[in-house]
Amino acid sequence: MPTLRLTIRVAGLAALAALALLPLPAGAVEDEDCLACHADLEDAAGERIAADLDQLSESMHGEMGLACVDCHADVADFDGEHPEKLAPAACGDCHDDVLGAVSESAHMGQSCGDCHGGHEIRAAADEAAPTSLFRTPALCASCHEALGEQASQYLDGIHGRALVKSGLKFAPSCVTCHGAHEILPAGDPRGRVYRTKVAAMCGSCHEGLISTYSGSVHAQLDAATGEARAVCSDCHPTHAVGSRNLPAWRQAVVAECGECHGAMLESFSDGFHGQATLLGFARVAKCSDCHGSHDVLAVDDPASRVAAANVVATCSGCHEGATANWADYDPHADLSSPARNPQAYWAQGAMKVLLASVFGFFFLHTALWLPRSLVAIRRGRDAGAAPPARELDA
C-alpha cells in the first residue's frame, strides 16, 4: 500500500519538521551557518562548495523544510571547521525501515542517492523523480546496462515497449517484478523473482492465465526438485519477453522448448515443420501449435491435443480437411528406431543401400576410366576422343 506508506512517511517527516522549528540549544547549527560558506560558488582553493539551494527547495525535503544538519548529521556540532569529506547523508535516521531492507538486499553498500538523487530528491510518485514509474528503466540501466544486457533486452521486450514507448501505466518497470529496496538476485530464495515465486509474480498481472497454467503438466511439481517442472521464465525470456504473435518469438520459442525437450527438438528439426522453421518460416507449426502453451499436457494424457482422440482436430487447425489418416503421421519421426517408425526406418535403409551401390560402382568406374583415358590421349590420337586409333583397329 504505497499511499499508506507515504502518509506515514509524510507524517513522520512533518513531525521532524515541527521539531526543527523548536528553539534549538545554543551552539546548534542553523542553515545560515552553512550558507556563510556554501552560498559562494568556490572556496579559496577554487573547489566547488556551493550547496544547490534551488534544487533543495524544489525537492520533497525542501518542501518539508528540513535543515542541512537533519541529513548532514555529522556537522550538527559545527564550530567553525568540519572535515573536508562529510559522512553520507543520514537517510536511515528517518527511513530506518528502508535502510534495513537495503542493507539485506543486492544493493547493500550502495548509497540512497545513487537511485534517489541528492538535494533534488523527489517522491517516486513525482514524475520528475528518477525513481518514478516511467523513468525507472533508465535509472536501473545506468548501472545494469554495463553489468549485463538485461536493460536493453527489457526495453526491446514487450514490457519495456509498453511502459517506455507506449507509456502504459500498468506496464511493469524493473521494480514491479524485482522490488525496490528489497531487491535480490534471481537465485536468492528470499528474492521476489526466485523460480518458485515466478508464476505468482507474473500471475499478479496475468491473472487470467493462472488457472490455465495451474492445470498444465508444467505446473506439476517435479519429484526430484519439489519445484514446478516449468515456470513462466523457463519458456519466456525474462527481460526480452515478447509477444507470441511476433515472428521472432514464434521462431525462438522452439529453442526454448528444446532447452528441456532436447530429443524432441532434434526430431522436430528433422521433420518438415522443423526444417521450414529453421529456414525462417514463422507460420509453420511450432511446438505450441500442436501441444498447446500454457495449457500444455503430457502426450499420454487423454486430454492432450496430441492424444489419439484429438490429434486430427489439432492437425486441422492448420491443415483444413485433415482426415483420420493424418493421425499416423509422426512429426517427431526417429529414423533410427524401427519400433517407432518402421516404414521410414526401412525406407531410409533401402535408400542408403541404393546410394552406396550406385556411388560405389560409379566412383570405382570413374577411378579406372580417368587414368586409362589419360594414357590413351598421351599415346596420341588426333581428335582427343578416348581410345587410340590402333586400339580400335586391334
Binding site: 528439426s269 521433420g271 518438415f272 522443423g274 526444417q275 521450414a276 522453421t277 529453421l278 529456414l279 525462417g280 518460416f281 491443415h319 483444413e320 480437411g321 485433415a322 482426415t323 489418416n325 493424418w326 493421425a327 499416423d328 503421421y329 509422426d330 519421426a333 529414423l335 517408425n341 516404414q343 521410414a344 525406407a347 531410409q348 535408400m351 542408403k352 541404393l354 546410394l355 550406385v358 556411388f359 560409379f362 566412383f363 568406374h365 570413374t366 579406372l368 576410366w369 580417368l370 586409362r372 583415358s373 589419360l374 594414357v375 590413351a376 590421349i377 590420337r381 581428335a383 582427343g384 576422343a385 578416348a386 581410345p387 586409333a389 586400339e391 580400335l392 586391334a394
Partner: protein, 275 residues
C-alpha cells in the same frame, strides 16, 4: 551438313530432345539449389541461401515452379515416345541398337570397357547408347518418378492422405531427401565426368546443345553404330545447323551448370562433415 573442316556431321539428338535437356538442366538446378537449404536447414549457410532466394517463401516457390517445369519435361518426353511408338511400332523403341532399354550387349560391353580400363583389351564397339548413358537415362527416369511422387505427396498432403496412411508422409520425406542426394551427387559428379569432363571430352561435349557429331568421332567412339549406318546407307548428314545462340550459349550454360553443381556437391559434403 558439313563441318567447317569439311567432315560430315551426323545427327545424334534432334531439336526437341535438346530443348527438353535444357529445360531439364534448368529445372533440376533450380530444384537442387532451392531444395538443398531444406535438407541442411540447421546450417547457417543453408539459411543464407534461403535468404539469398528472398526468404523461405520464395525458396519454396522456386522449388515448386521448377518441379512443374520438370514434370512438363517428363510428360513431353514420355508423350513423344508414345507418339513415336504409334508411328513406328514398339520394336524400334523397346529393343535393338537405337533403344535405351538395357540389353545383354550392355553387360558384355561393361566387361569389355573394364578390361580396356585395365589395359587388357580393345576399346568396346559401342552403338548409339553406351551402357553408362542408358544408366544415366534410367537413373533420371526413376529419380523423377520417385522424387516427383514423394514431392507431390508432401505438396498436397490433404489429397494424398485421403488414401495413403499418415506414415506415407514420413516415408515421402525420407525418400525425397535421399533420392535428391543421389540425383544431385550423381549428376554433378558421375554424369559430368562421363559425358563432359573426362579426358577426350573435356571441358564439355557440345553434342547435347548442337545435336551433331562428326563422322570421325562416331567411327572412333561408336564403331558399331558407324558401321551399322554405313552398311544400311543411313550415314546421312544432319538436318541442319543448330541455332547459333545454342551453339554459342551451350558452353556458357554448361559452365554455369558445372559451377552450380559443384557448389552444391561441396555444400552437401560439407553439410555431412559438419554432423
Amino acid at each position: 551438313m558439313s563441318a567447317p573442316d569439311g567432315s560430315l556431321r551426323i545427327q545424334r539428338f534432334d531439336a526437341f530432345d535438346r530443348t527438353l535437356h535444357i529445360a531439364l538442366m534448368i529445372s533440376f538446378l533450380g530444384l537442387a539449389a532451392s531444395g538443398l537449404p531444406l535438407l541442411f536447414a540447421d546450417r547457417s549457410w543453408a539459411q543464407l541461401i534461403a535468404r539469398a532466394f528472398g526468404g523461405y517463401g520464395v525458396t519454396g516457390t522456386v522449388h515448386r515452379f521448377s518441379a512443374v517445369v520438370l514434370f512438363a519435361t517428363f510428360f513431353l518426353h514420355v508423350g513423344r515416345l508414345m507418339l513415336g511408338t504409334r508411328r513406328n511400332g514398339t520394336r524400334f523403341m523397346l529393343w535393338g541398337p537405337d533403344s535405351l532399354v538395357p540389353q545383354p550387349r550392355d553387360l558384355a560391353q561393361l566387361g569389355q570397357h573394364v578390361r580396356w580400363f585395365l589395359g587388357r583389351g580393345p576399346y568396346p564397339r559401342f552403338d548409339r547408347y553406351a551402357y553408362w548413358e542408358k544408366f544415366d537415362y534410367w537413373a533420371v527416369f526413376w529419380g523423377m518418378a520417385i522424387i516427383g511422387c514423394s514431392g507431390l505427396v508432401m505438396w498436397f498432403p490433404g489429397v494424398f492422405l485421403r488414401i495413403l496412411p499418415g506414415w506415407a508422409l514420413n516415408v515421402a520425406l525420407v525418400v525425397h531427401s535421399e533420392e535428391a542426394l543421389l540425383a544431385m551427387v550423381f549428376i554433378f559428379t558421375v554424369h559430368f565426368f562421363n559425358s563432359h569432363l573426362r579426358p577426350g571430352k573435356f571441358p564439355m561435349d557440345p553434342v547435347i546443345f548442337t545435336g551433331e557429331v562428326t563422322v570421325d568421332e562416331l567411327r572412333h567412339e561408336r564403331a558399331a553404330q558407324y558401321e551399322r549406318l554405313e552398311r544400311t546407307g543411313r550415314l546421312a548428314p544432319a538436318d541442319g545447323p543448330s541455332p547459333r545462340w545454342l551453339v554459342k550459349g551451350g558452353p556458357i550454360i554448361g559452365t554455369v551448370a558445372v559451377t552450380v553443381g559443384w557448389i552444391i556437391v561441396f555444400l552437401t559434403l560439407w553439410g555431412f562433415l559438419q554432423d
